[in-house]
């Protein structure tokens, strides 16, 4: 029963994928979406069932299918575990997944490949479930790679556009760099402890303390963090995420904001016992996180593509999560993942709704004044913007505030960086809001006629997510009333985060400062884009530092120069010189053989009489050899 139900959780999306893949073309346009949504909803229901069960029992459920690999004393099982952490993630993945599936039914209704779209989405959900329920690192790697594949397929979903294909390839290759790190980390751990099982690793790590082991542990933790960097878009492997916006907007919301990109955070949280033992790496993670948060936020303030802004915002928010992880505050990172999933999914879906209404236009300079036409989209977008900016009492405020608090307790410098990032966040989010929904409409008159509120299948998920973005903070209230911390406590062995019970002045001041910062960002945006009615200039007119920002610090160009061009040069060298030498040698042998065979070929002239003469002569020679010599 137990095994069957857990397997059903996995199999629902897989079956949805297979059905849509095989017969999706024949069952009409609306049925694929319904099948896919039903599959994810089924998984969500099962996740919810187990979630309620674990709330009362507190017991993790393990499902062992079979032994997968075994050699020597090393063996890997195909096994899944449903504990507090994976169930939380399952709820987010399948819950938001369900909403986005429903949204996609409306959003993708006119696409000719709607069946393919839904089959990929279901496949993604399947791999994501594998990733979060894995009971060891290798099974997790299956999901890890699988979601990368689905991300690739969905970014390049509109494969007729070469730019989108390039973006998909970029995402895949960037992820591969991270995956190499991930695999190296897994191998190091397997070498050290002869196991990749989470529970066994935890046990082994609590007992081993030789210097050699701890040095290698550092290596393993670092390599695993590289994997997380690739998947969760941190410096220096973040450039794929903004480009990944080439995919359909629901994909951006589901994969590139709410779920897949948080896989790195999930992995580090899962291995918290490992990272706790390597403080240097933790510190490194914190720095990378903080720098990424500020860096991406600064790029976000000048972008004009609505989805690009949201993408950089995602990178920035992920940076904040890594900051929390690096400071050992895993449950806060998880908390921020959840609230971020709510408001960022809502923002993306809202932007999708806007793009849908604008007939595919993504440039904010051509929008404006949509408030009146699209009231539901506007309200949900506003709520999410308030949430991400950290205005109380919205969900983002609580999670962000906790990160700030932890940062200040550990390192004021990191706190300053994070604060700057959140100031910029508030600024660019309100900039998006003002540019999109306020003032006059700046598009063509044809677009204006076309403007409309999205269908209910799209607004319904928006409303749900908007509500969640508002009240999501309730799961982890400050002042020691955090339900989440208690819920997750079995996962973290030595949770050394100091929890202040009761009201403290320090915390109150902090909340005040955070809110103030958010309000400053908001008012700056208001001043610039409402009072002065500024509209971002055309691409060519941007100058100075803004130009550097607009061009994303020229990071893509730098990567192009440092990595891609030398590789191209090397490939050219191999292609033109080495390959021609090798080809020459091979052809040379062929020519020699051809030349040598020319006389022999003359013997094969096809004349039967000629063959007979040779037959007789050969017969004589054979007799001589056999009997006369």
């Amino acid at each position: 029963m137990e095994t069957g139900l857990v397997l059903l959780l996995l199999i629902f999306p897989l079956v949805g994928f297979l059905i849509n893949l095989s017969v999706g073309k024949k069952i009409g346009r609306s049925l694929p979406g319904i099948i896919a949504t039903a599959a994810v909803t089924g998984s969500f229901a099962i996740s919810l069932f187990y979630f309620i069960q674990i709330l009362s029992t507190g017991q993790a459920i393990e499902v062992h299918l079979f032994q997968w690999v075994a050699f020597g004393e090393f063996s890997v099982n195909l096994a899944f575990v449903l504990d507090q952490l994976s169930l939380l993630w399952l709820l987010v993945v399948t819950g938001i997944g369900t909403l986005i599936h429903i949204y996609s039914i409306g959003y993708m209704h006119d696409d000719e490949n709607v069946d393919r779209f839904f089959s990929y989405l279901n496949l993604f959900i399947f791999f994501m479930i594998v990733l979060v329920t894995a009971n060891n690192l290798l099974v997790m790697f299956i999901g890890w790679e699988g979601v990368g594949l689905c991300s690739y397929l969905l970014i390049g979903f509109w494969y007729k556009n070469q730019q989108f294909n390039d973006a998909a390839k970029k995402a895949f290759i960037m992820n591969r760099i991270g995956d190499l790190g991930f695999l190296t980390g897994v191998f190091t751990l397997a070498y050290l402890f002869k196991t990749v099982d989470f529970a066994t690793l935890k046990l082994a790590l609590s007992t081993t303390t030789t210097p050699e082991t701890s040095a290698l542990l550092g290596v393993a933790a670092f390599c695993l963090f590289i994997g997380a960097m690739g998947k969760s878009a941190q410096i220096p492997l973040y450039t794929w995420l903004p480009d990944a916006m080439a995919g359909p907007t629901p994909v951006s919301a589901l994969i590139h904001a709410a779920t897949m990109v948080t896989a790195g955070i999930f992995m580090i949280t899962r291995l918290n016992f490992l990272f706790d033992l390597t403080p240097d790496i933790q510190y490194f993670i914190a720095i990378i996180g903080a720098v990424t948060a500020l860096f991406a936020a600064s790029i976000g303030i000048v972008q004009t593509d609505i989805k690009k802004v949201l993408a950089y915002s995602t990178v920035s928010q992920l940076g904040l999560m890594f900051l929390a992880l690096g400071l050992g505050a895993y449950q806060i990172a998880v908390f921020h993942v959840i609230t971020h999933a709510f408001f960022k999914a809502c923002l993306f879906l809202g932007s999708g709704s806007v793009i849908h209404a604008m007939g595919g236009e993504q440039d904010m300079r051509k929008m404006g004044g949509l408030k009146g036409v699209m009231s539901i989209t506007y309200i949900t977008f506003l709520v999410s913007t308030l949430s991400i900016s950290g205005i109380p009492p919205f969900a983002g405020f609580f999670s962000k505030d906790e990160i700030m608090l932890v940062a200040f307790q550990n390192s004021p410098i990191l706190w300053v960086v994070a604060m700057l990032a959140s100031l910029l966040t508030a600024f660019y989010m309100f900039r998006v809001l003002y540019l999109t929904f306020f003032k006059e409409f700046r598009g063509t008159s044809e677009q204006k006629k076309h403007l409309h509120e999205s269908p209910s299948s799209m607004t319904m998920p928006l409303i749900v997510l908007g509500v969640l973005a508002t009240v999501g903070g309730l799961i982890s209230l400050p002042f020691g009333y955090s339900w989440l911390n208690n819920y997750l406590s079995p996962i973290f062995s030595g949770s050394d985060v100091v929890e202040a019970h009761g009201f403290s002045t320090e915390q109150m001041v902090f909340m005040g400062v955070s809110t103030l910062i958010a309000l400053i960002g908001m008012s700056l945006a208001y001043y610039k884009y409402m009072t002065k009615s500024t509209v971002p200039e055309e691409d060519e007119k941007i100058t100075g530092f803004a130009k550097v920002l607009y061009n994303k610090y020229y990071i893509d160009e730098i990567y192009n120069t440092i990595f891609i061009k030398p590789i191209y040069a090397m490939s050219n060298f191999f292609n033109s010189i080495v390959e021609s030498i090798i080809t020459g040698v091979v052809f040379g042998f062929a020519l020699i053989a051809k030349g040598l065979s020319a006389p022999a070929k003359a013997l094969q002239n096809g004349s039967v009489g000629f063959y007979l003469s040779f037959f007789v002569v050969a017969f004589c020679l054979l007799i001589i050899c056999l009997f006369l010599v």
Binding site: G609, S613, V616, V617, F619, C620, I623, I624, F627, L628
Partner: protein
């Protein structure tokens, strides 16, 4: 007396053999070949192998000969002039034949003699009766196989020479 008969027969055998090979008209070749086979049947008779002799005549002159002649008739080759081969290949043919002859003779001369001197013992080993018994007793299975071979050949011949239907 017997020696003289042998030499006469041998001359006929070789002579008609050469004529078979050299005759310009294929029908003449076929006729010479029949004569040659009759002389070989005579050799068999001299060796006291009556059964072989009779079978040889029946098979070769009765069956193979008729087949050859019918084929020639079908192809209407009798009056078709056959061009000669090139000189070089004719010389090569002659040289190859001499080489073959020398080699085979050399093999026979070099062979170890198992029975030093031949002495006829008056036992019946090759009468028709004995051959019949041996064939249907000791060589029963090959005998049956030979019959299968013959029927296969017959079917094959019919199949191959059958005129294909024009599609």
């Amino acid at each position: 007396m017997i020696t003289i008969i042998f030499y006469i027969l041998a001359t006929i055998t070789l002579g008609t053999g050469i004529l078979t090979v050299l005759a310009k008209n294929p029908i003449h070749s076929a006729v010479y070949m029949v004569v040659c086979f009759f002389s070989i049947a005579g050799h068999f008779l001299m060796l006291n192998a009556q059964f072989l002799s009779v079978v040889h005549i029946i098979v070769y002159t009765g069956a193979i000969m008729i087949l050859l002649l019918f084929t020639l008739m079908l192809m209407n080759l009798s009056d078709q002039h056959e061009p000669k081969k090139k000189v070089a290949s004719r010389i090569a043919a002659a040289v190859s034949v001499c080489l073959t002859a020398i080699v085979i003779l050399a093999v026979f001369l070099k062979a170890n003699v198992v029975i030093e001197s031949y002495k006829a013992e008056n036992i019946d080993f090759q009468s028709v009766q004995v051959i019949g018994q041996v064939l249907l007793d000791e060589y029963m299975v090959p005998f049956e196989f030979a019959s299968i071979l013959l029927i296969t050949a017959m079917i094959g011949a019919v199949l191959i020479s059958k005129r294909e239907k024009k599609a």
